[in-house]
Subunit: 470 residues, 2 copies
């Protein structure tokens, strides 16, 4: 920890640097020397004899019965009065205070998962269970950012991240991107030609490396390595937001069918692009993970992985913020993961990948068929839920040329909605929407009815006709 | 809202004043003029066909079977594939994104409850469901407080509140208290003799009016009214933190037995002391409520009630912070509350009151029997979970007089732990522990084994002997 402090203490925000554990932790360290049985009147927890939740049950598919009927679901129940619940989970403990660190069995499962998938290459890493990625990012911001700081973001990024950052008084420094994610040279240029009138040089980079929202791009392995080298060189902390990491897909092939062969763990793992967390050798990556896309959003559960200095500071904050994620959510998630096991969980993720691959392929097929090549440019996403379509501004019909790019884009968007098709316009993903210099639309293929993909893109094409020379 | 803005906009923190809704809200307002069926590719929500949680069940006591055996518990189940779930709850909706406002049926239940119990006397009030009171307070702080602000707190208060406030760079201005809560004259003196070298005069008062933690005091009705008048006079926002509000109790009577008569709602309501929220006529009270003491802490559910300007700003923050409380928790809580109904819920609270009254009485009986009257001073709490015992510093044995009060208190605490009894020492409840001028210990009667109450207080008395002239 001393080493970490020396290395990273200066990255802590004013707020985070002054965070202390609550006084009860301090009190807890005062122990009796004798072996007298302690009569404690310290804790103000409510009395569990008056907990009205006596039993919780959850039904879910067994491993490898993903496609089968729900009558064969497993049902796992936990009882308040039972000390021998499945996976030895203590329901009373889960319903009481004091779970800020998370239910120990669930935390162990997640830590084992991280060890298996990301194999962090430094010693002092830890995890903190969270109420999902939204607060995961909030924790990272409160940890690292002071009012007036500049923060590096991808040129197009997750709108809720922008909405979260702006009121904290940060200034956005966008990094240029292509279909393979952020450009290292854009990052280097920002750092080397830093305009000090903007304030101190940024020390935080926020990125969604895999299946990026909204661009669908995935940072290549080569660039991942390059960014870690640059992070070290310029003393940058990377916040790696990875809700789509496990939604990686095979290369697009219109004739693709899911592999019905027995699930192979090592080939599943080998196909995953190494995470920034894995490539990080000295604890500069704070990785934010979520169960929202992997199980369900309504659990509001996720976790952060990082060096133990940062995780400790985040935990101090969590104790006076959320206190802990829902114990009920944790019990339900644990019931499922414990029954599935590490391998069963990965097998479930493989099934998810197949499901979204099928959806991506259907949208790409429709796009290839219906979007006019002369105006629309897009790449096959290698992960995630989004197709990012650029409309060539050089082919705009001249009558539109007196407006700004973002005005034109918004006008097209309104017209699309009027014609019954609704993607999201690119400027919503920018820190400074008015600075848009290209026209983009994001199509999510996760939720829409597959049968509407063709009609949707047809409507798109027929709407943009009046704006572009096709 | 315009009226509220005029009145309260200046109370918003820098951060809160600049909070906007996310861009998706804005997009949502762009609608088609035609009645064409919209083909939406906007939302990146995961596909519910891949939600592995197929069914959730919870077992809990039926109304008025609180004392009976768990074999007669009600079990309520919600199924993903069932559109006719009990109370017409939509499990799929609860497991998906987009529940930041809370599950509509649960929010309605809570709003009805607030209307029934607190009957706010102004029009523009609203509630925001939260992940419990810890984050409830955090929301209020982020809403109202800038770095460098001074904040009014009770002289002794909830330690986690202090731990939450300190890193935000606030300065604590304590208000003196007695067994009936804060002293209005202490508040007035602070405001009238404000030392401007400390910064601007405080505009926020944080209080736990009922069954206060740690003092067990309950602010009298007269003082409640006085504080609201003063709040108006000095333009103060009151944050009313009320986890113990429903744990109000009959006057202490060693022979008390719970009333086995049929539950009477109107007499239950009439016995509750009017809340600050109820007495507030113009929206200056932000009331923070929690289900932790009423159902279980592990649900991590609560709510904030206040004027709709404040609730709207808190909601904007929640959307990029927790997003929503756990949908799974909300489903479980709704299952119980919907089955119980408003009256059944109050009947449950009556049973809770009885249970804690019995515990309070047992501790008071033991205290009357074992604590030396010459040194120990305490009052019977009218609510909550805590007995607050003062040790008369004027009777300290002289050899201790070269130490500060907080040093002496801590020394006694360490000795108590060594002798196998553990209350909490008073200084832990102070913004500035070193400024302690009296010696206090807090005894929680909520969790300890009833059979240890006498032995605990005996150990206490035998330990303090060497410090005091009994």
């Amino acid at each position: 920890m001393d080493n970490l402090k020396k290395k990273y203490q200066h990255h802590l925000s004013l707020e985070s640097a002054s965070r202390e554990y609550g006084p009860f932790q301090m009190l807890g360290r005062i122990q009796s020397d004798s072996d007298i049985k302690m009569l404690s009147f310290a804790g103000g927890e409510p009395n569990p004899s008056k907990f009205p939740i006596h039993k919780l049950s959850v039904s879910f598919p067994e491993v490898n019965s993903w496609e089968k009927d729900t009558n064969k679901d497993a049902t796992v129940s936990y009882e308040l009065s039972n000390n021998a619940n499945e996976g030895s989970l203590d329901l009373l403990g889960a319903l009481q205070y004091g779970q800020c660190q998370g239910i120990p069995e669930l935390v162990k499962f997640i830590k084992d998962h991280v060890g298996q998938i990301h194999m962090p290459q430094y010693k002092d890493w830890d995890i903190k269970i969270t109420n999902g990625n939204t607060i995961g990012l909030e924790y990272c911001l409160r940890l690292l950012v002071n009012r007036g700081d500049c923060i590096l973001i991808e040129k197009y990024t997750y709108p809720a991240a922008i909405t979260a950052m702006r009121p904290l008084g940060v200034k956005f420094i966008p990094i240029d991107m292509d279909e393979n994610g952020m450009l290292p040279e854009s990052f280097e240029k920002v750092m080397e030609t830093w305009d000090s009138s903007l304030g101190a040089r940024p020390h935080v980079l926020y990125t969604i490396p895999t299946g990026q929202n909204p661009t669908g791009s995935t940072l290549t392995l080569e660039r991942r390595k390059k960014f870690l080298t640059l992070a070290k060189k310029y003393d940058i902390i990377i916040v790696e937001d990875e809700p789509y990491y496990f939604l990686q897909m095979e290369k697009y092939d219109a004739n693709w069918k899911p592999d019905k062969q027995a699930f192979n763990i090592s080939s599943f793992k080998k196909k995953l692009i190494p995470s920034l967390l894995h490539l990080d050798t000295d604890g500069r990556v704070l990785r934010v993970d979520s169960f929202s896309k992997l199980i369900v959003p309504g659990l509001r559960l996720g976790w952060i992985t990082g060096n133990s200095l940062f995780i400790d500071r985040i935990t101090r904050y969590a104790e006076v913020c959320t206190e802990s994620p829902s114990g009920v959510s944790q019990v339900v998630l644990y019931a499922i993961l414990n029954r599935w096991g590490q391998n069963g969980f990965l097998e479930w993720l493989q099934d998810l990948q197949n499901s979204y691959t099928m959806r991506r392929n259907a949208l790409l097929l429709a796009a290839d068929k219906h979007l006019p090549k002369s105006v629309c440019k897009y790449h096959s996403p290698k992960a995630g839920l989004f197709l990012w379509v650029e409309l060539d501004k050089n082919r705009l019909i001249c009558s539109n040329m007196d407006k700004s790019i973002s005005e034109i884009e918004m006008e097209i968007f309104v017209e699309l909605v009027n014609n019954g098709v609704k993607p999201v316009c690119g400027q919503l993903f920018m820190g400074e929407p008015n600075s848009a210099d290209k026209i983009f639309f994001r199509f999510a293929y996760s939720l829409a009815d597959l049968s509407t993909f063709e009609a949707g893109l047809e409507r798109f094409t027929s709407t943009i006709q009046k704006y572009f020379q096709l």
